[in-house]
């Protein structure tokens, strides 16, 4: 970690101006850049992994592995210790009150489904509604749509302002005393908008409406603190925060977790399995049926180590500057149209090239190993609202730098030369 620590000192010293090359040094900690050199501008889809995360997963299987919470032998005890340490690390990382408010899941999608089917469904009342925003990822749209169609609730989508932010005024009208739950994204994976959720959460709470925050795109890019947000549930994935795939987190205020029902039944989540009925463990264990992805948790700990040593606020400051630089470059380029103009944006920007399909753009860039995303970004309802079937999206993390932006701009000019 020495390299990063050196740069952390520089970051702390606020010597950021003119430091848009920092990512080049941080990149050395990510072996994929040496093994398969490329310009990676698709971190919003998934982030690359530092060596220490890869090592932690490997070490877990090579030296620490055993079934967790079950056997009495030392391997099991060691594996359990690491798994539960992961819970505490996540607790502190997001500012929860106690480790038992942290549930390990397979990822954001599973976290949200757990709340939808374990928490929302048992509380359904006739004439109720569920409120989401118009910029939700399918993971925070389809579970709610499913419940609404299945149980005859209305699904309300808070519209966006012209700038591409959740319309606060509309939110206060749509969230009412019949709202079962509100589920909102903190950072849009399509527009990059950072939503100021506090006023909406305060309004929801004034009506006793619980709020779930989808933090998949914000975690690791900015300080995500459940006390500051005052959200009731928070969902995110490991793989977008430099951690392994297949592991994610659901945070819930403990009082709500006590009311939530299990959604996956099976091994380990039960206290007493009777023939007629069964008694389940206390939260969080009753929500972790089956053998969990313990190695993923070991990797997640290493990812949190990395982020905390670097300082998430330092990463945010660096990444904000780099993103502004990228947006300036894109805006200066003829025939490039940027989607949305929010007050605060994090980590990504969507754009389209005049008369050139985003898939052609991404394909041609891919030829010179520049990875950007083209598609609907799992947010078809939003793109339908915007009247654009697909976009290009360039997204960054701490390992990017201005050379990557230059490569992107050169690539865009090459794409244009094909067609114009």
């Amino acid at each position: 970690m020495s390299v990063f620590n050196n740069y952390r000192i520089q970051l702390d010293a606020r010597k950021l101006d003119g430091m848009l090359k920092l990512g080049k040094h941080i990149r050395k900690e990510f072996p994929i850049f040496q093994n398969a050199p490329h310009v990676y501008l698709d971190s919003a889809a998934t982030s690359h992994k530092p060596q220490r995360v890869i090592d932690a997963v490997s070490r877990f299987y090579s030296t620490q592995y055993g079934s967790i919470h079950r056997a009495l032998h030392t391997r099991s005890a060691e594996a359990t210790r690491i798994y539960e340490m992961g819970r505490s690390r996540v607790e502190h990382f997001i500012g929860a009150n106690k480790p038992s408010e942290i549930i390990f899941t397979g990822g954001t999608t599973e976290s949200i489904n757990q709340v939808a089917f374990g928490f929302a469904v048992p509380r359904i009342k006739e004439g109720g509604n569920i409120v989401i925003s118009a910029m939700e990822h399918h993971a925070n749209f389809l579970p709610w749509q499913r419940i609404c169609t299945q149980y005859g609730l209305s699904l309300r989508r808070i519209p966006l302002t012209d700038a591409g932010e959740i319309d606060e005024v509309a939110a206060s009208e749509l969230i009412d005393e019949n709202t079962l739950i509100t589920a909102l994204v903190q950072v849009s994976n399509v527009l990059g908008t950072v939503n100021d959720l506090n006023p909406i959460i305060a309004h929801a709470h004034s009506l006793q409406v619980p709020v779930l925050v989808d933090a998949a795109q914000s975690i690791g890019h900015m300080d995500v603190n459940v006390q500051a947000l005052d959200c009731d549930f928070l969902a995110f994935s490991g793989h977008k925060m430099l951690g392994p795939t297949g592991v994610g987190v659901l945070y819930g205020k403990y009082t709500y977790l006590e009311q939530m029902e299990p959604w996956r039944f099976g091994g380990e989540m039960v206290l007493h399995a009777g023939l007629e009925r069964s008694k389940f463990k206390e939260p969080p264990h009753r929500f972790e049926g089956g053998s969990p992805h313990s190695a993923g948790v070991a990797g997640l700990i290493a990812a949190i180590d990395f982020l905390e040593e670097a300082g998430v606020s330092n990463i945010q400051r660096y990444s904000d500057q780099l993103l502004s630089h990228m947006i300036d470059q894109l805006q200066a380029e003829e025939d490039v149209q940027i989607l949305a103009d929010p007050k605060q944006r994090s980590g990504l920007v969507s754009f389209v090239l005049k008369d050139i399909h985003p898939h052609d753009v991404a394909s041609i860039l891919g030829e010179t190993n520049i990875a950007i995303r083209a598609g609907h970004h799992c947010a078809q309802p939003l793109l339908r609202d915007l009247g654009i079937p697909v976009t290009n999206r360039a997204s960054i993390h701490c390992y990017n730098d201005e050379d990557d932006i230059e490569a992107l701009m050169d690539g865009i000019r090459r794409v244009k030369s094909y067609f114009h």
Binding site: H357, A374, G375, H376, L383, Y418
Partner: protein
Amino acid sequence: MKDLYHPTIIRHSKSPSNFREDPPDDREVVTLEAYNPLCGDEFTLYLYMQGELIEKVQFSGYGCAVSKAMTSLLTERLEGKRILESKVLLSDLRKMLIDNGESPRTLLDEFVPFMEVRNYPERMTCVTLSIDALVDYFEPNKDRL
């Protein structure tokens, strides 16, 4: 990549043949939807049929350079063909592009640039989008692999 974006493909994507912005008023026209949920490409093909004869084919919609150029070329090639001939053409086209067998029966020279897509399997659906919509219409019971 320059090979996939062959001048023929660029030309047809920029100024496609038989392209129209809006659907025709003609109620007799056969309308086919070619939709790729993976990428959002969506074309509507309009077939003006006279019995067994395809008098004219037009299309509207949105898609990448490759899918648009392919659709454009198909509309040119199918004009004036009988259904039977069209089936043979489409089948040969699929063989040439997917199975890599040069067609013995029909001359498909203008489609040769699309063979480059074989090097970009993730773009194969761009090439097959409109072909498959037509095959589905002409041979609704055919199991396509």
